[in-house]
Subunit: 227 residues, 2 copies
Amino acid sequence: MRYSYQYPHPAVTTDCVIFGFDGNRLNVLLIERGIEPYKGQWAFPGGFIRMDETADECARRELREEAGLDDAYMRQFYTFSAVDRDPRERVITIAYYALVQQRQVTGGDDAARAQWFALDQVPRLAFDHDVILRHAIDALRRQIHFEPIGFELLPQQFTMTQLQRLYEAVLAVKFDRRNFSNKMRHLGLLDELDEKSILPNKKEAFLYSFNRENYAEFKERGFRLEF
Amino acid sequence: MRYSYQYPHPAVTTDCVIFGFDGNRLNVLLIERGIEPYKGQWAFPGGFIRMDETADECARRELREEAGLDDAYMRQFYTFSAVDRDPRERVITIAYYALVQQRQVTGGDDAARAQWFALDQVPRLAFDHDVILRHAIDALRRQIHFEPIGFELLPQQFTMTQLQRLYEAVLAVKFDRRNFSNKMRHLGLLDELDEKSILPNKKEAFLYSFNRENYAEFKERGFRLEF
DNA sequence: TGTTAATTGCGTAAATTTTACGCAATTATT
DNA sequence: AATAATTGCGTAAAATTTACGCAATTAACA
């Protein structure tokens, strides 16, 4: 008991919902807790903020320490402050979601066990992390309308079908293959590459990459897919 | 110095950007600080979170205490955590914006002085509140595409022109009067009332009100105005 | 009181975008 | 060799967006 204040202070943590895309479905990376409370249950990587780091830095550090992930796309989406969301003490958590290429991480490292779960197979989570997950999905869906966020989930080069599967997975809808392709190509967000893909069990297809020059403008002006 | 912890805890506050609409422009309500730091400078109403209240409750309490506002529409939009954003100690603030009918509040009450400022006439603000304001405007613009948020800023009954002015003020664009009206009426979001308005210096016009039944669906599915 | 300007209601034609498909060519599977 | 899946390239119809016209009413002002 070494740090004292005139008024009570809550503890502050960051938690990070990590979304990955396996080419077909959207998944989340969970960590099995090694300590109480909720020992043995699944939770998002996260931890207490240090006095010399911002929330962004904290979230990024936890991501590295607990999930072995560097350079992930991250976004703060909500701060959860229910009074009794942590049994130990008053803890307010600043929640982020991250988008990563799923193959980057397979197992976690260190002591903790990390595992990918499909969105409809997520077990009961520690703390109020169920609530946090629901909010994260909502935030991601909202964001995907305004920003070409999905590109963070795909490899540098991808086929149109891969891109479509991603959008379908995030928004939980189905698009017409030809219309999706037409719309995407006319948006100017993609560069059509000369190469073609060689994917297992697939016919070869054109490869695309993300056009960084137009990225900023689409972030500003927003863009929307039919649905 | 009466509250001690094993690890250092940051202080946590909420701050609230209050948007009002005067029929023509979007304004923010600022409070002149009566105490150090930044005494005499303008800032958003806000204050330290209590251990028995959520951030939502805290923001609502501060709104009532400092701006005399009850029942405002409020929304958390970002948490600011720069290490030295407060000269006193490490303070993390959970930021909200509120939408109110501007006539509800004129002057603040209590000791503090409250005043409406047009967005382009906001003075230098205390702390990092300039940054917070910028983020709040961005968040509001983003939100207005998905949710019929603007209705919180208008009286129960309003004319189509009033609604258009509101959207124009928030998005900083101009719409064609006839197209705006057509689109809005076809959206099904409005109830056309039998009454007509009697506004000063205006020709009488039909009054509309917000159709609460369709509100939820539009929150879900989103809707977008041309621009 | 007469004239001008602003405001409102009600259109409509053209341009653009969305939507719903067809069809042939290539590749994997059996 | 036959069948199914995948991809590329269209196109016509439907729906929406965009850019205006025009008359009627009210306010403002000479």
